[in-house]
Symmetry: C2
Subunit: 135 residues, 2 copies
DNA sequence: CTTGACTCTGGAGTATAGTCCATAGTCTAG
DNA sequence: CTAGACTATGGACTATACTCCAGAGTCAAG
């Protein structure tokens, strides 16, 4: 199949597929003399793999590594596991950082009772102004 | 004080300060004929405001709005509160999405018991390969 | 054999938040 | 007065993940 059909199948744009090719995520099965790329079902599978890994928070670079591991017969499950473990650590760190932000913002919102007050008395602006961080 | 001293005080680079100026976050108190920018304590305060707002997850664009509101005597606390509320909604959404990722990754890691196994039998790779998402 | 849909390449643009650089001018201490 | 530290400007570059475009070539149907 040509790139347009593949794009429809994987539900991503032809530009994105060409971009993924440049990034080494996918290779056409063959290329005609005209330059037209030809793909098959396994290409669609690869794209689905990419989309799913992206949903799990992997970057294109990491997905590239995953695909390489996946296609290397000498790869052990442990190598893949290590990547997933590193990723989950990243994710947990991000969650923690966002939760700290949420906590701070919530405290500020609770402190802000009189919405009609001037910005000079706004506890939110006030806390950002403070020298010491003591919300 | 000149830009270098301000940079030391706020613990950010002179390049970043000039970048913030271009983005409208800060203005020198005055500019010499030579082009040298002059700042004062309030400049340092503004930069601290920016850094703290950044820590709370606000983008530079949003901080720009916050600063504008803060310096406008007609601004009410409610306007600031609305921004903070929007931001907290964003943060909560991000947390939820990351938690979903964490859940999926954890499930995959638990499924992966034999780290020495070939990648062909790796449940992580397997789940990314699957047509249906049914981890 | 022509028309219209499709594809190619290469490059530019988007958003975010900076960082780094060369070249040139300025300032101040000794 | 000069050396060395500092500053200015404009533009390029980083990373991520695309998106869009022009101009040219290709392909299949009628």
């Amino acid at each position: 199949m040509l790139i347009g059909e593949l794009a429809d199948k994987a539900n991503i744009s032809v530009d994105t597929i060409r971009y993924y090719e440049r990034e080494g995520l996918i290779k056409p099965v063959s290329v005609r003399d005209s330059g037209y790329r030809e793909f098959d079902e396994s290409s669609a599978d690869t794209l689905l793999f990419v989309v799913r890994a992206k949903d799990l928070g992997f970057s294109l670079k990491e997905i590239c590594t995953l695909l390489r591991l996946k296609n290397d017969p000498d790869t052990t499950c442990g190598e893949v596991k290590a990547l997933a473990e590193k990723k989950i650590t990243d994710v947990i760190l991000k969650i923690k950082s966002l939760q700290a932000i949420e906590k701070d913002l919530t405290a500020l919102l609770r402190a802000c009772t009189d919405t009609a007050a001037s910005v000079d008395e706004c506890p939110i602006v006030d806390s950002l102004d403070k020298k010491e961080k003591e919300i």
